[in-house]
């Protein structure tokens, strides 16, 4: 009944694909999401240790489902034993759990279960770090230890974060079901936002000496692919997946030998991943062709314009400026306004960009943010004002919490200073 000793990578991939399906089935049957999630996690760990040695069962999904239900039964039994000592009510409750399906019995898989899980894990009642952790475990099938190591926190901390997230879900009383049609769009936006945060956490790690934690980016892309397969007609899902692929395509070119950050216009474009660029570009072109344009599609389109330029000098800046114009109309986001100022400077000259920045000085959301100083420094440098450029590069370096970015900004300032002295 088993195939000959698979390697643990094969088992890992299979388990993470099955994880949301099994959890969906168990959560539907058991009605207690937190207990179901714990039980499935235990089943996944059991499979990860047993299958590489004994082979993959003929019906791996059935195996996981059965083991997870058994774990729930075991927990219930020990819980009942404890209670029996306290009072003698519980015997009929036991009967309900005495029957579990045979190990190879087929498990009904609802395609929508993965979506329901995502909606649940990315519920607006959760803080972003909680939603991220729960999504990676319940939908991504990662272990608590793996998630903890990706976020550089102790395992106990991550376990607590996940457990608190599940308590919040329980307290909010969300049923394990699709959100109502009226709130579907808003809830899907929350799901996409969580995936985008996971991707960014991997792509530009927010702290620590390493700029990229690639496993998280890969995981975000894998989950985005899964949603895209379930909702192929949703333009923003396609847009987010395209944005991730087009950004990830530049990964190898983005850092140097000492982990230093290399900006887009100085990257070796031969290192870009053509396959990812083609796939991302095709995705976003197809989505944009269907109408209902959204922010992820526009950001992906901008990334595609950058990626199609063989050299930085070939970049079609007028098109990027037009796309940022559309994006600015769609969302009142100061970061978009900042990027638009860069594009305007590339098309109409640095003075125009600097003028656009003046309007942002009053924006409270950018107060203390290093990006405004960094962009102003770039534009001042291009405008031939090294003295003020140096001051703003340094101010940005003082404020950023990213070590590679700080080093990059200080290097820019040092180069300008050296140029002034000669």
């Amino acid at each position: 009944m088993t195939k000959a000793s698979p390697d643990s990578t094969t088992v890992g991939h299979l388990l993470r694909e099955l994880a949301p399906q099994v959890l969906g089935a168990v959560a539907r049957r058991h009605d207690d999401f937190a207990a179901a999630e714990d039980a499935v996690q235990e089943a996944l760990i059991a499979a990860a240790t047993q299958w590489p040695a004994r082979g993959i069962p003929d019906n791996p999904r059935g195996w996981l489902y059965h083991v997870a239900l058994r774990r729930i039964t075991d927990h219930l039994r020990s819980e009942m034993a404890r209670r029996r000592r306290e009072d003698a009510v519980a015997s009929e409750l036991w009967a309900e759990w005495a029957f579990v399906p045979p190990p190879d019995g087929e498990v009904g898989v609802d395609r929508d279960d993965t979506l329901v899980l995502l909606f649940m894990c990315c519920h607006p009642a959760l803080t972003p770090p909680s939603a991220i952790a729960l999504t990676l475990r319940a939908v991504g099938g990662l272990t608590t230890a793996e998630i903890a190591s990706a976020f550089l926190v102790p395992e106990a901390t991550m376990a607590q974060r996940i457990s608190r997230a599940k308590q919040s879900i329980k307290a909010s009383g969300v049923p394990f079901d699709m959100p109502a049609e009226s709130e579907r769009a808003e809830r899907l936006a929350a799901v996409l936002h969580v995936l985008y945060l996971i991707f960014n956490e991997g792509y530009a790690s927010s702290s620590g000496p390493n700029l990229q934690r690639t496993d998280l980016s890969n995981e975000a892309i894998r989950l985005a692919r899964a949603i895209h397969a379930l909702l192929p007609d949703d333009g923003e899902v396609a847009g987010l997946l395209a944005l991730m692929l087009l950004t990830d395509a530049r990964r190898a070119a983005r850092t140097g030998a000492s982990g230093e950050l290399i900006p887009l216009d100085e990257q070796d474009r031969m290192l870009w991943d053509r396959g990812l660029i083609q796939e991302g570009t095709a995705l976003v072109s197809d989505a944009l062709g269907r109408g209902s344009v959204g922010p992820y599609q526009l950001q992906a389109a901008i990334a595609a314009v950058h990626d199609e330029a063989a050299q930085a000098g070939d970049t079609d800046w007028p098109q990027i400026l037009a796309l940022y114009g559309l994006l600015a109309r769609m969302s009142d986001n100061p970061m978009v306004a900042l990027n638009r100022a860069i594009a305007a400077a590339m098309v109409h000259g640095p003075e125009v960009g600097l003028q656009l920045l003046q309007a942002l000085d009053a924006d409270a959301r950018l107060r203390g943010n290093h990006r405004l100083d960094a962009v102003r420094a770039h534009l001042l440098e291009r405008a031939g004002d090294p003295e003020r450029a140096i001051a703003h590069y340094r101010a940005a370096a003082e404020r950023t919490a990213s070590i590679p970015e700080r080093d990059y900004l200080l290097t820019k300032a040092a180069r300008l200073l050296a140029g002034q002295r000669t």
Partner: protein, 131 residues
């Protein structure tokens, strides 16, 4: 044994005024730190290491009467500041001192070692095993 190596950067004047370094000197400093971290990891001695943002926004915080935070600072007159730290797992205090000395030689202007002061403190452990 675990030790914390704390890198104290002199403030304001002196060689650690990195704003006045040449780009090459600055690059060499970054490359040294990168190499140092990789060596610690390769030797299995790395436990943790973090760089801290500059002290421009540093605050001292105490609880007020109602428990709400009361902040003080920043302190522009402070002579030196904690720029970052490492926690290393080593067999002896001597090894921790050697690692600290290596970090202290991080290059500054003209590639000359900075000889930054590195404070070395043992990290306390849990309860001892029963005899």
């Amino acid at each position: 044994m675990r030790f914390m190596l704390m890198m104290h950067a002199p403030r304001g004047t002196g060689d650690y005024q990195i704003n006045n370094w040449s780009p090459e000197d600055f690059q060499a400093h970054i490359a040294f730190m990168h190499q140092y971290n990789q060596e610690l990891t390769a030797a299995g001695e790395w436990v943790d290491g973090q760089g801290l943002t500059p002290p421009g926004e540093a605050k001292l915080v105490r609880a007020g009467k109602d428990g709400a935070p009361v902040t003080d600072g920043p302190f522009p007159e402070a002579k030196e500041f904690l720029a970052g730290f490492w926690i290393v797992e080593v067999d002896s205090p001597e090894r921790a001192y050697a690692l600290a000395a290596k970090a202290s030689t991080a290059p500054g202007p003209g590639g000359a070692p900075l000889n930054m002061p590195i404070e070395v403190r043992q990290v306390m452990s849990g309860p001892p095993t029963d005899a």
